[in-house]
């Protein structure tokens, strides 16, 4: 289901004049890593959030989903409106997608350079085994 999550994250963090889009930040590899490492329940939540995002377009732009089939303008409008929906479970589910995407977007060294932040070194993932 990573393709569905990827499509959703691309809508949430698109390219702009200031920043590259999340799609250019190694998103596929990031999602593969996330799926392999995160708790199953969290990944399931991510899939649920992405699915809800894709099929909630009637609520925001009055068009049936999935969002990925809409025009760029409508998808951007959907991204803006659905993240502010008054439906709490829906907002929370999409917040999870946004948070996991934000961890990919915010560690990109081009973004960090624009923010006057040093690039991250790779997370070692090591531990004391002896």
């Amino acid at each position: 289901m990573n393709w569905l999550i990827s499509k959703t994250m691309q809508d949430l963090y698109p390219a702009s004049a200031d920043f590259p889009g999340i799609v250019d930040m190694g998103l596929d590899a990031y999602l593969d890593q996330f799926k392999a490492e995160a708790p199953a329940l969290m990944y399931t939540g991510l899939v649920a959030g992405a699915t809800l995002y894709q099929f909630s377009t009637m609520m925001t732009v009055g068009k049936p989903g999935p969002a990925m089939l809409l025009s760029d303008e409508l998808r951007d409008e959907h991204a803006r409106k659905i993240t502010a929906t008054s439906n709490y479970p829906l907002r929370q589910a999409i917040f999870l997608v946004k948070m996991v995407a934000g961890m990919c977007w915010g560690k990109d060294e081009r973004v960090r350079a624009k923010m006057n932040l040093a690039p991250y070194q790779a997370d070692p993932g090591t531990w004391r085994s002896e």
Partner: protein, 506 residues
Amino acid sequence: MTHIAFRDVGQDVLRDVDFVVVGSGAGGAAAAVALARGGAQVAIVEAGPWRDPEDYPESAYGAMRDMMDDWGNTMAMGDALWPIVQARIVGGTTVVNSAICVRTPGDIFRQWRDQHGVGGDAYADRMWKYQDLIERELHVEEVPAHAMGRSNQLALLGDERANLGGHVMRRYVKGCAGSGQCLQGCKGLKKQSTNLNYVPETMTRGGVVLSCAPADKILLDGQRAIGVTGHFQHPTTKKKGARFTVRARRGVFVAASVTHTPVLLMRSGVKSHHLGDFFRAHPGTGIFGVYDEPVDMNTGATQGWASTKFRTDPGMKLETLAIPLELVASRLSGGGHQLVQRLTKYRHLAMWVHACRAESVGTVRPTAFGLSSKPMIRYGLNRADMERFREGMKTVARMHFEAGAKEIIPGIQGMPYSLTPDQLHVMDNAPLDPRAYVAILSHLFGGAVMGQNPRTSVCDENGRVHGYDGLYIGDASAIPTNLGVNPQHTIMALAMNAADRALEQR
């Protein structure tokens, strides 16, 4: 020095010691070192792996994966879902917190005496002596001026103008360099988390540390605790490993955190009327101030300013808190081009927070039918607490404007994205629905509370579980009320006291 990490199936571990301590955070490490100093042979059993500073991650992703309990996804469920932030690593949450040191306020001991029959003046004196010792040993000092960073400096200014009675934080940090990486672990060895001091000292005094070792059960012989058992868990693959059993000749300390200690006791068959009850917390959230000049909030101490002036009325603590860019990216509301446009202001943002001294109580229980080792936390805020919560938001907003913010970003569902100084009154009508806020529970209390009466409490003032021999609570689970201040100092003092009293038992 003996450290036993993950062992694969077939390599079972059996140890005999005087005391076994479950958990290596503020409470567990403090109890363990006190026991070891008293001449006892101690084993620390820690669910998470041992990561040295060179193993620490830098990114928020790495911190959630490598440091946090369940990736930071333990949720308190009530009207809203609010995450609980705690670590699962040798050193516990002391590795990922901001090492804030606040002495237990005197009124807390009087409250414990009046409401729970424990504490009182003599008890307070004893606790403060432990806190004197801890402050010396862990090099408690104010954040040095060169490490404050712009966000903390602005907070001092806002505080002065708004008369909030704040101060530069005192922390368990030796020579802070202001690297802004408290939440990912301090690679510079400045923060005095317990994996750098009390845990190694316990080992040099003959102790043993089992890491990657989540305890399944406390072993009981009738009403006497005689050890701990469980299975190693691989920190990366989560694969179940060999069985470990640590037999304790003199006692078992449980310091596995407010969410895990009550569940471990229940799973072990410990009976107590109010086990898992009286869960309390400091729910908190932040407001961004937007300033003309760059703030670069991730430069300088992650947290460097605080005020406890409002701890008793209306009941809140104010602090600065610089969250990593990755989390700012999701914390700002919006999506699509609107969101990335909002993020262009990142360098001009300062995040300050309030922690609400909530009176509401909740429960901690095991997952139904034992389907998971994950604790289930039920917790919601009543109206009075939500009013306190809103008051905290308003105070932080006012402070930002006094410090010169051109606008604030309250992050409240249903309210404008940003407010200018002339719109501050809008905060008076901020919703009292917890679902409107993105909040976290940062400091936890209760679940195995102390008290004189076994019918209304789980342990006595020295951590001894009522009705059991050799079984002690050594963490914030024992704290029966909401402190209104950062709890690490209180937890450590309570744990050291419990350890010293346990040493007197023969």
